[in-house]
């Protein structure tokens, strides 16, 4: 990969975290887990604190004026060099593929958008393709199935990285679900504009998840997980939605948004998470 070319392989790897507005507000545990995993593999994590939203909901609903304003802010918020890592395939795909569309008539911003797009990575992609991680050093244990988020799989072409990482966790019994690459029905604004169709698709996804007998369903996108987790929570199914970062960090809970018992853990500041690595 172009990124660490010229970087000292043994030196610290400066990484900017794009934590995403969704995880910030609903599942900060995912952000903490991402930091934990990145630091475990030698990254120095910087968090630009003025970041907000990449603008995807506005872009995807056709409201490009608003999307452009957010994209402009994003491009000015993140530093000029070094990788940007995010625990979301969807937000990374937005920056990579959406921004060039938004700035197609502004050559200067377009160049910047392309440059930033080249430097943005989804977490599992960064770990496997850039850092060459083969053993995530996680003590997570449980039977896990994986949902391919559409934008991670089709937008970024990341299919094998999350699976490699999951299979490399000794305590994880990994099981593929049928139709793992079929949309869960979230689709952002789609789930509000066409909630009944969205829910029908989510029901089919959850059926496939339950058929695996897994205790956890994981993914690289929080949007999918909140959607799937929302249906699981409503019907009380015996499976937990958990972000891939949380499995890699060695958490035990699953998305805190639907679980009262995890609420306190959720508020835990970064750094206090039990270190799972270094065994």
């Amino acid at each position: 990969m172009p990124y660490n070319a010229g970087m000292d392989p043994k030196g610290p790897i400066p990484v900017s975290l794009f934590f995403t507005c969704l995880a910030d507000a609903f599942s900060p545990g995912v952000c903490n887990a991402t930091v934990e995993v990145l630091e475990r593999f030698g990254a120095t994590v910087r968090v630009p604190l003025s970041q907000t939203c990449c603008g995807q909901p506005a872009f995807n609903s056709g409201n490009r004026k608003e999307a452009r304003a957010m994209a402009r802010k994003f491009l000015l918020t993140f530093p000029d060099e070094g990788p940007i890592v995010t625990p979301s395939g969807s937000c990374a795909a937005m920056v990579k593929h959406g921004y060039p569309v938004l700035f197609r008539n502004e050559p200067r911003m377009l160049a910047r958008a392309r440059a930033v797009g080249d430097r943005i990575f989804e977490l599992s992609q960064f770990l496997v393709d850039v850092l060459g991680v083969t053993d995530p050093k996680s003590d997570f244990s449980g039977k896990v199935t994986y949902h391919d988020s559409c934008h991670l799989r089709r937008g970024l072409g990341v299919v094998s990285a999350p699976r490699k990482l999951l299979r490399a966790v000794p305590g994880v019994e990994f099981v593929e679900m049928e139709e793992s690459d079929r949309c869960c029905g979230f689709g952002g604004v789609f789930s509000l504009k066409n909630p009944q169709i969205s829910c029908k698709m989510t029901e089919r996804k959850v059926e496939r998840i339950l058929a695996t007998g897994a205790s956890y369903v994981t993914s690289g996108d929080l949007g999918c997980l909140l959607n799937i987790g929302g249906l699981i929570s409503r019907f009380g199914y015996p499976v937990k939605a958990i972000h891939l970062a949380e499995i890699l960090a060695g958490g035990t809970g699953g998305l805190s948004s639907f679980a009262a018992d995890a609420a306190s853990e959720d508020a835990r500041p970064p750094g206090t998470i039990r270190r799972a690595g270094g065994r």
Partner: protein
């Protein structure tokens, strides 16, 4: 065909509650996709062929006037009479005139989606001509008085039980749940029509410019019978269906049946080149081709040009989880699924169909399977943006987007809102999911919980632990 595309929301809710439809969709849509995937997997050259097909189509669109002129000249040289219709009204007029001038009272028609665009059957019926659909699926829905719900399987929304009841009522056949028996009944009924029809009407999968031929890709043999038995053959075809050379045809024949039905080749490929010549054992004495513009040349001039590459294989419908959930009628016009969500607004005008581009999660499954590489999700996004620019968004959506963008401009404001939401969320839900939200979010919580906002967002946690410097 009557246009009802902006009622997509209402149509789809009805479709979701229709148990028979859901059963029919469940039985068939997954099978199409599985067959397509297997056929593509068994054909290692698929990707390269797809690339070539896409390139040929792009070249056609870049020089459409040249290729069309060549096609018309070659077809006329072989005795075919070529007509060009600017819009649906003109197409109906021409079709009715052809039938009248040829003295036709009964026409048999094989499957043609283009003919649905212009309400062809109604036009001929208005001119006193009976039109009998001869494709099995089309025959069934004609009896039911319905429109096709799928590009290649127009009656995919019907169960065999419903079909048997239709045959009982309209053809006087005994009830049966055997598909071969149902097919036999339709065949018996249609055979008589084929033998007495004065005109056979077809669509056209390809128009070959260097030979003036119309190519039909079919499975039932009705297209072949309808183009050789009756005295007159009329083909109704969109202008974008032209390909440069007969030598290009194999490229398309390799991708179309595989993408459509998972077949390496369809049961029939008919190449109709002009009228019957001296010594020909069969073929029409008179041949007409009605070329439809109907909005296509306008599309050609704009940013959606590549949508005209479409070969109508319906792979995008079969791959689309939204189509699979609601079926084709919800889309409210001729074309459904992802291709319909893009093509319908372009052909009938965005104000008449602005709900369709929203009928997608942008999952990209359609673009994955499209055999001519049409960027369907990009076009859906582009149309949504056009809708905003043309003033077709609700004031509520625009206000919400402006408010959201306003908050996202300032991290401090976002943080303050998150803090309030976190406190309220934790207080009311004790950290569990939210079971009921007010409109416009109420749809989400009908059967799903909404996540509770975190008591302390990540940004705040990070500041506490590592300081405000970032």
């Amino acid at each position: 065909m009557e246009l009802n595309a902006n009622a997509f929301g209402r149509n789809s809710r009805k479709a979701l509650l229709d148990k028979t439809l859901q059963e029919a969709l469940g039985r068939t849509t997954g099978r199409f996709q599985a067959h397509r995937d297997a056929a593509v997997a068994a054909f290692p050259e698929f990707e390269a062929t797809r690339e070539r097909a896409s390139r040929i189509k792009r070249d056609v669109l870049d020089h459409l006037d040249t290729y069309l002129a060549r096609f018309i000249a070659e077809a006329e040289k072989r005795g075919t009479i070529v007509h060009v219709a600017r819009d649906a009204a003109q197409a109906r007029e021409i079709a009715a005139r052809i039938a009248r001038d040829e003295g036709v009272t009964l026409a048999v028609k094989s499957k043609s989606m283009a003919s649905e665009e212009i309400s062809f059957n109604e036009a001929l019926q208005g001119a006193g001509v009976t039109v009998v659909e001869s494709d099995l699926g089309e025959f069934i829905i004609q009896l039911a008085g319905e429109a096709p719900s799928h590009i290649i399987a127009p009656a995919v929304h019907k169960t065999r039980e419903q079909i048997s009841r239709l045959f009982e009522r309209h053809l006087g056949e005994p009830p049966t749940d055997s598909i071969p028996e149902l097919v036999g009944m339709a065949r018996k009924h249609l055979r008589a029509k084929f033998l007495s029809a004065g005109m056979g009407v077809s669509g056209g999968n390809f128009l070959v410019a260097d030979t003036g031929s119309v190519v039909l890709v079919t499975n039932e043999g009705n297209g072949r019978m309808g183009t050789v038995l009756p005295r007159v053959h009329l083909a109704v075809v969109g202008i974008e269906k032209v390909i440069p050379r007969m030598a290009d045809l194999p490229t398309f024949l390799r991708i179309l049946p595989r993408s459509a039905s998972g077949q390496a080749i369809s049961s029939y490929v008919s190449i109709v080149t002009g009228t019957r010549r001296a010594g020909d054992p069969e073929g029409p004495e008179r041949m007409h081709i009605l070329l439809l513009d109907c909005g296509r040349s306008a599309i050609l001039e704009g940013k959606y040009r590549e949508i005209l590459k479409c070969v109508r294989c319906a792979a995008c419908l079969n791959a689309c989880p939204v189509y699979q959930s609601v079926g084709g009628h919800a889309y409210g016009w001729v074309y459904s699924g992802p291709i319909g969500a893009v093509l319908t607004p372009l052909l009938v005008g965005l104000p008449e169909a602005a709900a369709l581009p929203d009928a997608s999660t942008l999952c990209g499954a359609c673009a994955d399977v499209c055999p001519v590489k049409i960027p369907l999700p990009d076009f859906l996004l582009e149309l949504r943006s056009d809708a905003r620019e043309q003033g077709l968004k609700t004031p509520g959506e625009i206000a919400a987007m402006k408010g959201y963008a306003g908050v996202m401009k300032r991290a401090g404001l976002l943080e303050a809102i998150e803090r309030i939401a976190g406190v309220l969320g934790q207080f009311f839900t004790k950290g569990k999911g939210i079971g009921g939200l007010p409109y416009p979010f109420s749809g989400w919580t009908e059967r799903r919980d909404f996540p509770a906002p975190a008591a302390r967002p990540f940004r705040k946690q990070w500041k506490i632990k590592r300081g405000a410097r970032g």
